[in-house]
């Protein structure tokens, strides 16, 4: 698989191509405020100097970490960066690279830390940094392997200490990928675990997903371990073995196949740490003391003692790391363990048929713990439930590293009058209390079924579980929780209309200006709440005002605006936005459920992503302009258009054009393409229209503006995003309806089309009307005027001698009504004109 001998020749040939790639890399960085952080690994209790490359970093001031444990203690501008392929200093433009010192606390939890970088103008994209228990050893020849400066072949293997984390780099080119070989000395019978972290580092800005492989050979050249995909970490491989002999072992890592991605980074943990793959059981009740059966990656089995805490909080906090609750020593990426408020039930063998289903004595909720040990085995349980109860049935297997691909079902037992049968193989993201496109965001958690069990009769029910593939084994472990249901609500960033999704997955409010964010609302799994919702914000720094209209079920999004005072302190914060039922008697759990893609693979799919319940927030320095919209004096009638007057307030010497777009609109209301207010002008008119299907009512609308030039439209880097304060627009019934009569006209003569008027709403002034979609050769002589109360209108027509004869449908009229000083255009009518030949011709 890892064909090493090719590299010798191909790398030499690749150098030129790689050098050409540098320029491209530098240009690509323009699209991001923070493109990447390197290294992405640091040892606990040390201070690590990292480099962030991106753009417009001259005013970098702060790093926002999403959890405690790391502090950024210094930020320095860089003039050069290492060449990405040969390491030589490469001069960079100002603001393209900075150096930061990360002070990692001695007690910092291991694992991933989400972070964002704040400049005076931006809060950057989400990056991540990982804390390891081991000293970090950089790959010595991290660049193109050539001559003696290489580590791609066994004879050039880099010697590394045992119990370390290698921070490595894999350069890729058109032909083949980089393989790195490390040498580590082992004693006979010593355990060695090698664990890769690469896909999980996140490669979205590198444009691809990594599929790494590990291969280990003993001193005698025998292959002792190989892996390219692990049950615990999906894309990231891991191996663990007991050294069969003493001596130097060669660990080869690299992309497992000819790849189309560009450069990859990885961490390689090499040490004697145990690597559990799975435990039995996979969870327990609060306060339990458990003896866990443990399966290790090296093939051994053992026991662990676990003590569970006595409290659990909402959502995923019930998932704890095995190292937190057991005597397992600290290891990188420990197994997770599910903690519940209800008791465990363990399977008793001999329940493989419905007629000998294992009876559950206690009433729900419970957690069923078992193993599918033989091919095609089905485990059956019988329990009682009452009509009206609601449970979320959630299976934990793949989520926690089990090899089982569970399929679960519930059906009424004999004597139960219910006829409902539940069957579930997989789950959607909402079952996990996260949003995510079902296709784009696939991870192995999704293979574990989740469904709502809502018994419609009192009585006994049978629950069965099996492997979809009919596969089996001692480590095909499952845990089925029948969890009590609680209604919940979640919200996440609505895709922004004009892209900029990466940049706009943050809230950056400029001093003295408004920032507007539409959020999508998602009902929690099994929840049926459809009443009005209000937003609560927590963690808002001083000097920022928050406003959010009440959300009703007719709205596509819930809006939130943040306005910073002119003297608010530039800083970052993590916000909690909590949706509540307006009715305080309705008890809903609510939280943010935001995912950020951390990987992208060919086709734009992002299988791995970061999940946060908090939103990155920053107060930024003043923007060069501000906007507002005049409240319209009239409503927006159905089948009518309305021009919204937008005012730009320029600051300093900024005169550039402004690009504006509505943040959201109610259903049935459409908008024009983005409005651009030309350079130097301060007023623009943004046209919105209502269809006949629009729901009448008052809506609070906003517009977001940015400079028309000077930034990257895809990412938003380089632009200031400014929201308008809310305006109120009412969608109303139309003013009038005109029913056009059928008319027959003759070539070369004059004719007329009569419309009968039905007034729906009073208007002041005089309206004018013109005809639309007239046939060739037929024209309106004069636009007739219409006053309120008038019952009909006559359209005088001129028919040319060569007008095309025939019958023409869909003749409509456009009525221009001036009300409260504003022009409203409304379309109405559907008439028919027949053009006849000139008589006698």
């Amino acid at each position: 698989m890892l064909n090493l001998k090719l590299v010798k020749t191909c790398y030499r040939l690749a150098i030129l191509a790689l050098l050409c790639g540098v320029a491209q890399s530098a240009r690509a960085a323009e699209q991001y405020t923070a493109d990447f952080v390197l290294p992405q690994l640091g040892q606990r209790g040390t201070t690590v100097t990292v480099r962030v490359e991106g753009s417009r970093l001259q005013t970098a001031e702060e790093v926002l970490f999403y959890r405690e444990g790391i502090r950024c203690t210094a930020i320095r501008q860089l003039n050069t960066v290492p060449h990405p392929h040969n390491g030589t200093p490469l001069k960079v433009e100002p603001g393209k690279a900075i150096e930061l010192d990360f002070e990692i606390a001695a007690d910092a939890p291991l694992g991933e830390y989400y972070l964002r970088l704040r400049t005076k103008q931006k809060l950057s994209e989400m990056l991540s940094f990982w804390v390891t228990p081991f000293p970090v050893v950089p790959e010595e020849h991290a660049f193109v392997d050539i001559g003696e400066t290489r580590n791609d072949l066994p004879e050039y293997a880099q010697t590394i200490p045992f119990n370390c984390t290698v921070s490595g780099f894999g350069s890729s080119n058109e032909r083949a990928n980089d393989w790195d070989v490390y040498r580590v000395a082992l004693k006979k019978d010593q355990r060695c675990t090698c664990q890769i972290i690469s896909a999980r580092l996140g490669t979205i800005h590198y444009g691809g997903l990594t599929d790494m492989a590990i291969e280990v050979r003993s001193p005698s050249g025998k292959r002792v371990a190989r892996n390219n995909r692990s049950s615990l970490f999906a894309h990231d491989p891991a191996v663990s073995f007991i050294a069969p002999e003493a001596g130097d072992y060669l660990i080869t890592v690299g992309q497992q196949m000819d790849s189309e991605i560009r450069n990859i980074h990885y961490g390689l943990h090499v040490g004697d740490f145990p690597r559990p793959t799975i435990t039995f059981p996979l969870g327990g009740q609060l306060g339990d003391e458990l003896d866990l059966d443990v399966f290790y990656l090296d093939g051994s089995r053992g026991k662990l003692k676990a003590t569970l805490s006595k409290e659990v909080t909402a959502f995923e906090k019930s998932m704890v790391e095995l190292t937190e609750i057991s005597n397992l020593p600290e290891i990188p990426s420990p197994n997770r363990f599910q903690v519940a408020a209800f008791p465990n039930v363990y399977e008793v063998e001999g329940h493989s048929k419905p007629e000998n289903a294992q009876t559950i004595d206690q009433h729900l909720p419970v957690a069923l713990n078992g193993i599918i040990k033989t091919e095609g085995e089905k485990d059956w349980y019988q329990f009682s439930a009452k009509k009206g109860e609601r449970y979320r049935v959630r299976v934990y297997a793949q989520t926690l590293g089990s090899k089982l691909d569970p399929f679960v079902w519930i059906r009424p037992a004999e004597g139960n009058p219910s006829r409902k049968v539940y069957e579930q193989d997989d789950s959607l993201w909402d079952g996990h209390d996260w949003e995510g496109h079902h296709y784009r965001h696939q991870v192995k958690d999704r293979l574990d079924p989740i469904f709502m069990f809502e018994p419609d009769a009192d009585g006994d029910y049978l629950l069965g579980i099996a492997d979809t593939r009919r596969e089996s084994g001692e480590d095909f472990i499952y845990r089925v929780e029948l969890q009590p249901h609680h209604d919940s609500l979640f919200l996440y960033y609505k895709d922004y209309p004009s892209g900029s999704s990466v940049e706009r997955d943050v809230i950056g409010v400029h001093r003295g200006a408004t920032q507007t964010r539409p959020f999508a609302i998602m009902n929690g799994f099994g929840s049926q709440y459809d009443g009005p919702i209000r937003l609560e914000v927590r963690g808002l720094p001083p000097g920022v005002e928050f406003d959010s209209p009440i959300f009703t079920k007719n709205d596509p999004v819930i809006m939130a605006t943040f306005r910073a005072s002119a003297d608010a302190k530039l800083q970052t914060a993590l916000l909690e936005l909590i949706p509540h039922a307006v009715d305080e008697n309705v008890n809903l759990l609510g939280a943010v459920a935001q995912t950020h893609a951390s990987n992208a693979q060919r086709g734009g799919y992002s299988p791995l992503f970061n999940k946060t319940r908090k939103l990155g927030f920053a107060i930024l320095e003043e923007a060069p302009f501000d906007i507002s919209i005049d409240e319209p004096g009239i409503g927006l009638a159905k089948n009518a258009e309305l021009d919204l007057k937008v005012n730009v307030r320029r600051k300093g010497d900024f005169t550039g054009a402004i690009y504006l777009e509505m943040d959201w609109l109610p259903q049935g209301v459409t908008k024009q393409p983005p409005l651009i207010i030309p350079e130097g002008e301060d007023v623009g008119y943004y046209k919105i229209s209502a269809t006949s299907q629009a729901a009448t009512g008052k809506y609070r609308l906003t517009i977001t503006a940015r400079e028309n030039e000077g930034g990257d439209p895809r990412s938003g880097v380089g632009f200031h995003y400014i929201g308008s304060p809310f305006i109120s627009v009412e969608v109303t019934e139309p003013y009038l309806q005109i029913e056009l009569q059928r008319a027959a006209v003759e070539q070369g003569k004059r004719g007329e089309l009569v419309g009968k008027i039905r007034h729906l709403r009073k208007f002041s002034g005089v309206a004018t009307a013109r005809l639309l979609r007239l046939p060739n050769g037929v024209s309106l002589i004069e636009e007739p005027a219409i006053k309120y109360g008038q019952e009909s209108v006559v359209f005088p027509l001129k028919i040319e001698a060569d007008a095309l004869t025939g019958q023409y449908k869909e003749i409509a009229c456009d009525v221009k009504i001036t009300d409260e000083g504003q022009d409203i255009h409304q379309q109405s009518g559907s008439g028919v004109i027949r053009v006849d030949e000139k008589k006698g011709s």
């Binding site: 020749t9 058109e174 032909r175 196949m257 691909d405 997989d426 086709g603 299988p607």
Partner: protein
């Protein structure tokens, strides 16, 4: 056996099915005659719709694909193709338009008869006359009220030629074949006159509509008879005129004995044994996809070990390249597809892992039955469980039991069942019942997304409903092709199928595997194409086919290396390509070595090897075209080459996708294209190196011959080339001239072909 004793007088009169009792055959025959006579005298005789009327349709061509048997029928009237749906045919005759096609009041006025006899305008013309037996059968049936058959009416259980092989002693004679049908009630019937006949080689032994076989010229052929849903074959040999002395050539093993027996039977003399250098080149290319190196050539030619050919075979089979040759073939047969396309269910990573798994199986010489079992039982992730890609690669997009069952039959048994999806196979024994009962094995295959867009999980729903028959919707219980019903209760039906398929006694699998192996070394299968096994395409040497399959499965436990060793060690494989007067026309009986154009990937590798040119495949870490896991298209610098030289596109599992015929485009590409030209220009090391070591041109020319053709030039060739070279000591000029020599060698047909 003399020809005259074999002439069978066909029984040309119609009579009803007659029960043949054991020991009373003569009496039964007499009774049958009496019965016929009674019928002929006008006494009431029951005419069966299925057994009497439908054969008329078949024989007259009414239900053929170009007539009323087409899917849309003809002129508003449709019959089932070759009569696969008697119920439907009965309905359309009588009930679709009541009174139109059948006139019960005046049967002679029935449109059915009026059209068939040409009294009423008929696109198909006059099919029979009013005094024909066909007319009388239908009229009698109409006179009886055009009844449908009762449930207990006998059905055909099989047909057979009276003799299954016949040898004409010389061209110019003929034989009237006789075909008999057996029925569910135990009766038999001469159905010769109702059969459709066809031959496999009309230039040797054509057969006419009446079943008379004519011996036209010396050679071998098969003739076939079709009746109801059955097809049977008969082997016909026409011996050449004149004396024939079998020289009793030496044999190396059982293969030679069986091949030579056939040749002796056919009065064909095998060619002589090939030379050592021919053998070296032939077997090295076949076993490793590469040319012998100059060192290998020198060592082999210098060896005087009597067993050196066998030792060479063993050494070549021990190389990884041997496994890679077979991985490349299986990669095509199994359609390894590497486009990362979640909609199709394929992914580059999956293809990569799949290929490398196959490569490993081939290098480690996994038993073929085990290999097939793993593929058919493939479960789980396409990324981590490579065999599961069997269910993502051959059936891309959504899981398709139709495709899976058809392709499985074709890949592992060489049987093309596609015809039987819509009608009983016209040239084979497969019926629609067989087709859908076999499809049932795949009805439970399911596929779902795994942990990411690239990943698919394949699994089986053991409770899935079997396939249903498209005509009447009845569930088709799982039934092995040509075998029994399967017990799949609470089992993965695919595993049940795999166990049946790979059982040592299953001749369908073992002979197909043996035949595919055979075809690799001879360029032609004993049954050819290797994946078109049918009654109407019989083996050219049945005993050989049988024995190869038996050895592979029973003696060698599906260790393909052992069979390959037998093949390569045989004198048959080692025969020269040079023919003699008796075998120059033979293309099927392996009396001489065939000229085989190398596969596209092997040819590319041989080119680069001969040139000592290291080709950098674009977007691939492969060092040879043979190991490009997805074929050559990925190397878009040379995609044109692979396309031109017929590399399989992997659009189907058909072995025919790997095209190895030579054509003008290939010759033009080699002459004018950049493949050779670029290599000669970019890699000037070979000739300079030879110039460094040799002061004269002769040894250099010899070295170039050995590199390309694995032989030394003949004196005539050497002198001819030397005469064409400029007489100069200028190195650059010599270099250019020798480049031209190399160019000429690479463009020779001797280089392009394995021989």
């Amino acid at each position: 056996m003399k020809m005259s004793s074999n002439i069978v007088e066909t029984f040309r009169s119609y009579r009803r099915p007659t029960v043949v009792h054991r020991g009373l055959a003569i009496a039964a025959t007499l009774l049958a005659w009496l019965s016929f006579e009674a019928s002929a005298l006008g006494e009431e005789t029951h005419v069966s719709f299925k057994n009497d009327v439908m054969p008329v349709f078949m024989k007259s061509g009414c239900n053929a694909g170009d007539c009323h048997g087409s899917s849309r029928g003809q002129d508003g009237f449709r019959l089932s193709l070759f009569g696969y749906d008697p119920e439907g045919d009965y309905y359309r005759l009588l009930e679709e338009y009541p009174g139109r096609r059948i006139n019960r009041a005046e049967p002679e006025k029935s449109l059915l008869l009026e059209k068939a006899t040409g009294n009423v305008s008929h696109t198909g013309g006059e099919l029979f006359t009013v005094d024909s037996e066909s007319y009388r059968i239908i009229l009698e049936w109409l006179n009886q009220g055009a009844p449908h058959d009762p449930d207990e009416a006998p059905l055909v259980t099989g047909i057979r030629f009276q003799i299954d092989k016949h040898k004409f002693e010389r061209p110019g004679s003929s034989l009237a074949a006789k075909v008999t049908a057996t029925y569910t009630d135990g009766s038999e019937r001469d159905i010769t006159r109702w059969c459709l006949f066809m031959g496999s080689n009309d230039s040797v032994a054509p057969i006419d509509d009446a079943g008379v076989i004519e011996a036209k010229k010396a050679g071998g052929a098969h003739v076939f008879a079709r009746f109801d849903k059955f097809t049977v074959g008969m082997e016909v040999t026409v011996l050449p005129e004149g004396e024939f002395d079998w020289p009793d050539p030496p044999t190396n093993n059982y293969i030679d004995e069986l091949v030579f027996a056939k040749l002796q039977d056919m009065r064909i003399l095998p060619s002589e044994l090939c030379s050592d250098d021919q053998f070296l080149r032939r077997v090295t290319i076949d076993l490793t996809g590469a040319l012998p190196t100059p060192d290998e050539y020198a060592a082999f030619m210098a060896s005087d070990d009597a067993d050196k050919r066998t030792k060479l075979i063993d050494e070549l089979m021990s190389r990884d390249a041997f496994g890679e040759v077979w991985a490349a073939r299986w990669g095509e047969w199994l359609r390894i597809f590497t486009d990362t396309n979640p909609e199709k269910g394929t992914a580059m990573l999956a293809g990569w892992n799949y290929y490398h798994w196959i490569r490993e199986q081939m290098i480690e010489n996994t038993r073929l039955d085990e290999f097939a079992r793993q593929l058919l039982s493939g479960n789980g992730s396409n990324l981590t469980s490579p065999p599961s890609n069997y269910y993502t690669m051959i059936s891309q997009g959504k899981v398709d039991p139709v495709r899976l069952s058809e392709d499985t039959a074709q890949i592992f048994m060489g049987i093309r069942t596609q015809c039987a999806q819509c009608h009983n196979h016209p040239f084979d024994r497969w019926t629609m019942d067989d087709y859908y009962a076999f499809q049932s094995f795949f009805m439970g295959v399911r596929r779902k997304h795994g942990s990411e867009a690239r990943e698919y999980f394949t699994f089986v729903d053991v409770d899935a409903e079997p396939a249903s028959h498209p005509i009447d919707g009845r569930p088709m219980a799982h039934k092995f092709l040509g075998g029994k019903y399967a017990d799949v209760e609470d089992k993965d039906a695919r595993k049940v199928l795999a166990n049946w398929l790979t059982a040592p006694g299953n001749t369908l699998f073992r002979e197909n595997m043996a035949n595919r192996i055979w075809a690799h070394f001879f360029g032609k299968g004993i049954i050819d194409p290797v994946d078109d096994v049918r009654i109407s395409n019989p083996p050219s040497n049945g005993p050989l086919m049988t024995e190869l399959g038996r050895r592979l499965a029973q003696d060698y436990a599906y260790d393909q290396k052992k069979l390959i060793r037998d093949i390569c060690s045989s004198r048959t494989y080692q025969l020269a390509a040079t023919t003699n007067s008796s075998n120059k026309q033979d293309e099927r009986l392996f009396s001489h070595s065939s000229l085989r154009r190398m596969r596209a990937d092997v040819f590319f590798d041989c080119l680069t090897q001969a040139l000592e040119y290291k080709h950098n495949f674009r977007r691939s870490s492969a060092d040879r075209a043979l190991v490009m896991f997805e074929g050559g298209w990925r190397d878009n610098f040379n995609a044109y080459f692979f396309r031109t030289f017929g590399q399989a596109k992997r659009e189907s599992v058909c072995a025919c996708e790997d095209q190895t015929e030579a054509n003008l485009s290939q010759a033009l590409h080699l002459i004018n294209g950049k493949t050779i030209d670029d290599a000669l220009r970019r890699n000037p090391k070979l000739i300079p190196s030879l110039l460094d070591h040799h002061d004269t041109d002769g040894p250099i020319i010899e070295a170039l011959f050995i590199r390309t053709l694995a032989r030394k030039p003949s004196e005539k060739e050497l002198q001819g080339i030397l005469r064409s070279l400029p007489e100069t000591a200028d190195r650059q000029t010599r270099h250019q001239a020798l480049n031209n020599v190399l160019w000429g060698l690479l463009n020779s047909s001797e280089f392009m072909f394995n021989h």
